[in-house]
C-alpha cells in the first residue's frame, strides 16, 4: 500500500511538472501574440492605407481626424543603408568564413571563427559608438551619414555572415571536395564553384538573417545614420530609417505620429515573418539536397 502511494506521488509530480512547464510555454509565447495583435489593431489601419509606403512622415498633430501620412523616406533610407551594409558585409563575411573553414592554417581559422562568435555578442550600440568615435575625430563632416550608418551595420552583420556561412560550408560533405580535387581542379575554383555553390541555400539564409537583424537595428544608427524625415538626397547626409522613426514617434505626444510608429512596426513584423518562413524553407531544401549526396 505504501509502495503504491509513493508511485502515485511520483507520477503525480511528473504530471504537475508537465502542466507547469506547459504554462511556461504559454507565458513565454504570450508577448509574441500580444505584440502581433496590438500592431494589427493600432497599426493595421494606417499600414493598409494607400500611400502609407510612399509618402513622408507627418508633422505632429493631435486632432483625432488629422491626416496620417506615411513612412516612405524611412523605407527608402532603410533599404539604402541596409543595402550598402550588405554590400560590404556579404563579401567580407563569406571570404572570412571560407578562410576559417576551407583553409586550415594552423590555429588561425579557429581564431577567426571564435572572434566572429564573440563579436556577435558585442552590444550593437558599442558598434555604433565605435564608428562614431572614429569619424568624429577623423572625418566629422560625414560622422552622421549613410556611410557611417552602413559601416556600423556591417560591423554587426559581418560576424553573423561569417558564422552562418561557416556552418553552411561545414554541411558540404568532404567527398565533394575530394571529388573536385581528384579531377585536378584548383583549390580556389573548387571552393568557389563547387563547395560554395553547394552550400548556397545555407549562405543565403545567413545573409537574410543578418539583413533582417540590420533592418531592425536602431541603437547603432542613433549617432551614425542620424535622424531625418526627408527623402534621400546624398550618401553623405543623415537619413531616415524605420527603427529610428519608431523610436522617435513612440514617445510623441501627437496621436498621428504614434499611429505611424505602429504602422511601421506592423510593416517590419510582417517582413520579419516572411523572411523567417523563407529562410526555413531554404534550410529545409538544403538538408534535402545534402541528404541526396
Amino acid at each position: 500500500m505504501r509502495k503504491f502511494d509513493r508511485y502515485v506521488r511520483r507520477k503525480l509530480l511528473s504530471h504537475i511538472i508537465a502542466v507547469l512547464t506547459g504554462l511556461c510555454v504559454i507565458a513565454v509565447l504570450y508577448p509574441l501574440v500580444s505584440i502581433v495583435y496590438e500592431s494589427f489593431v493600432l497599426g493595421g489601419g494606417v499600414l493598409f492605407q494607400a500611400q502609407f509606403l510612399t509618402t513622408q512622415a507627418p508633422n505632429g498633430c493631435s486632432v483625432i481626424a488629422c491626416k496620417t501620412v506615411g513612412i516612405g523616406p524611412a523605407v527608402q533610407g532603410t533599404l539604402i543603408v541596409v543595402g550598402l551594409a550588405a554590400g560590404i558585409s556579404v563579401p567580407v563575411g563569406v571570404l572570412a568564413a571560407i578562410f576559417a573553414s576551407e583553409y586550415r592554417v594552423r590555429g588561425l581559422g579557429r581564431a577567426v571563427s571564435f572572434t566572429a562568435d564573440v563579436l556577435t555578442g558585442v552590444p550593437s550600440i558599442i558598434m555604433g559608438a565605435f564608428i562614431y568615435g572614429y569619424f568624429v575625430i577623423y572625418d566629422p563632416q560625414i560622422a552622421l551619414s549613410f556611410y557611417t550608418g552602413a559601416l556600423a551595420l556591417s560591423a554587426i552583420m559581418i560576424p553573423i555572415v561569417v558564422r552562418t556561412t561557416e556552418e553552411a560550408l561545414r554541411v558540404v560533405p568532404n567527398s565533394v571536395r575530394e571529388a573536385a580535387m581528384a579531377l585536378g581542379i584548383s583549390k580556389w575554383k573548387a571552393t568557389l564553384r563547387i563547395v560554395l555553390v553547394a552550400s548556397l541555400p545555407g549562405v543565403a539564409t545567413g545573409v537574410l538573417l543578418a539583413v533582417m537583424r540590420a533592418a531592425g537595428e536602431a541603437a547603432p544608427l542613433l549617432f551614425t545614420l542620424g535622424y531625418s524625415t526627408l527623402w534621400f538626397t546624398s550618401l553623405s547626409h543623415p537619413g531616415a530609417n524605420l527603427p529610428i522613426l519608431i523610436y522617435t514617434f513612440a514617445l510623441s505626444e501627437y496621436s498621428n505620429q504614434v499611429k505611424v510608429a505602429w504602422g511601421a512596426t506592423l510593416f517590419l513584423l510582417i517582413l520579419i515573418l516572411v523572411v523567417n518562413v523563407v529562410s526555413r524553407l531554404m534550410i529545409h531544401r538544403m538538408r534535402v539536397r545534402m541528404g541526396g549526396l
Binding site: L20, T21, V28, L29, P31, L95, F99, L269
Partner: protein, 300 residues
C-alpha cells in the same frame, strides 16, 4: 592569390575586433586623464560642472540584468523542458519556431510595445500590488509610474527568454537517447528522467545559454532606453527611474555638451564592452563544449 585574399579578409575580422577596442579606448582618453579610476565609483554625473562618475549606470545595468535573469531563467528552462520532454510531437516544431520569432523581433518594437502595453499594466496593477504586499522590504518605495527599473527589467526578461530557451532546448535535445532510456528502464517518470538523466548531461550548455542571455541583457539598448525613465542617478528602489550604460550612451552621446562628456560616455562604453566580452567568452566556451562548435541554434 585567392588564398592571399581569403587570408587577408579572414584576418580583417580579427582586425575589426582589435579596432573596436582601440578606438573606444582612444575616445575615452580625456575622461581617463580627468578622473582616472575614480570614474568607476564616482556617483556624480553632472554635464553642467563637467564631473562624471559612472557608478549609477553600472548599477542600473547590473540590477536590470539580474532581475531580468530572475524572471527569465525559470520560464525559459520550463519551456525548454516542456518542448523536449512533455510536448506532443505536433506542437514541438511550431512552438520552437514561435520562440525563435520572438528572438527576431527588433528591440525598438519591444520598446514601443512596452510603452503602450506593459507600462500601463505595470503602473495601474502590478506595481501598486507589489507596493501593498511587499512594500515593507523597501524595494518598492516611490510612486508607481511604470517607467522605471522594474518595467525595463520585465521587458528585458521577455527579450532574453528566447536566447536561453532555444539554447537550453538544443542542449537538452542533444542528450543521447540511450541516456534517457537507461533512466526510463529503471522505472523513472518523465520528470525524474529529465532531472536525473538530462539536466546533468546538458548542464554546461544550459549555463552557457543563461550567460549568453545575460550578455544580451547587459547590452540591450532601445527597449531599455524607452522604459527605464533615463534618470542619471543610482536608482533608490525598483520603482524609481534609472539608466543603464547602454541607455546612457543612447541618450547622451549626441547631446553635444563638450568633449569631456563625450569621452566619459565612450569610457562608459568601454566598461560595457569589457563586461559583455567577458560574459560572452565564458558563454561561448561553455556552449562550444557541449554543441561541439555549433552556434547554439540561434544567431543574434
Amino acid at each position: 592569390m585567392f588564398f592571399g585574399l581569403v587570408t587577408a579578409v579572414g584576418l580583417s575580422v580579427i582586425g575589426l575586433a582589435v579596432a573596436i577596442v582601440v578606438i573606444i579606448v582612444y575616445g575615452s582618453r580625456y575622461s581617463f586623464q580627468a578622473f582616472g579610476f575614480s570614474f568607476l565609483w564616482g556617483t556624480v554625473w553632472s554635464p553642467t560642472t563637467d564631473v562624471f562618475g559612472v557608478v549609477f549606470a553600472v548599477v542600473g545595468t547590473l540590477v536590470t540584468s539580474a532581475i531580468a535573469l530572475l524572471i527569465a531563467v525559470p520560464l525559459a528552462l520550463g519551456s525548454a523542458i516542456y518542448l523536449t520532454t512533455h510536448a506532443p510531437p505536433w506542437l514541438r516544431g511550431p512552438a520552437g519556431t514561435a520562440v525563435e520569432l520572438l528572438a527576431a523581433v527588433p528591440s525598438v518594437i519591444y520598446g514601443l510595445w512596452g510603452i503602450y502595453v506593459v507600462h500601463p499594466y505595470m503602473a495601474t496593477t502590478i506595481e501598486p500590488g507589489l507596493k501593498e504586499y511587499l512594500g515593507f522590504t523597501g524595494l518598492f518605495d516611490g510612486t508607481p509610474i511604470g517607467l522605471d527599473v522594474l518595467t525595463a527589467s520585465v521587458v528585458l526578461a521577455i527579450m532574453i527568454i528566447p536566447t536561453i530557451c532555444a539554447i537550453s532546448r538544443d542542449t537538452l535535445a542533444a542528450v543521447p537517447q540511450a541516456q534517457k532510456e537507461a533512466a526510463l528502464s529503471l522505472g523513472a517518470t518523465d520528470w525524474e528522467t529529465t532531472r536525473v538523466a538530462m539536466i546533468p548531461y546538458a548542464r554546461s550548455g544550459i549555463v552557457g545559454g543563461i550567460i549568453l542571455g545575460l550578455g544580451r541583457a547587459l547590452g540591450e539598448t532601445m527597449a531599455v532606453t524607452m522604459l527605464i525613465g533615463n534618470v542619471d542617478r543610482i536608482p533608490t528602489s525598483l520603482l524609481s527611474g534609472g539608466q543603464t550604460i547602454a541607455s546612457l550612451i543612447a541618450t547622451e552621446l549626441l547631446s553635444n555638451s563638450g568633449p569631456l562628456q563625450e569621452s566619459a560616455i565612450l569610457e562608459a562604453g568601454l566598461i560595457l564592452l569589457v563586461i559583455a566580452l567577458t560574459v560572452n567568452v565564458i558563454a561561448r566556451l561553455l556552449v562550444w563544449r557541449v554543441l561541439k562548435g555549433g552556434g547554439g541554434g540561434i544567431v543574434e
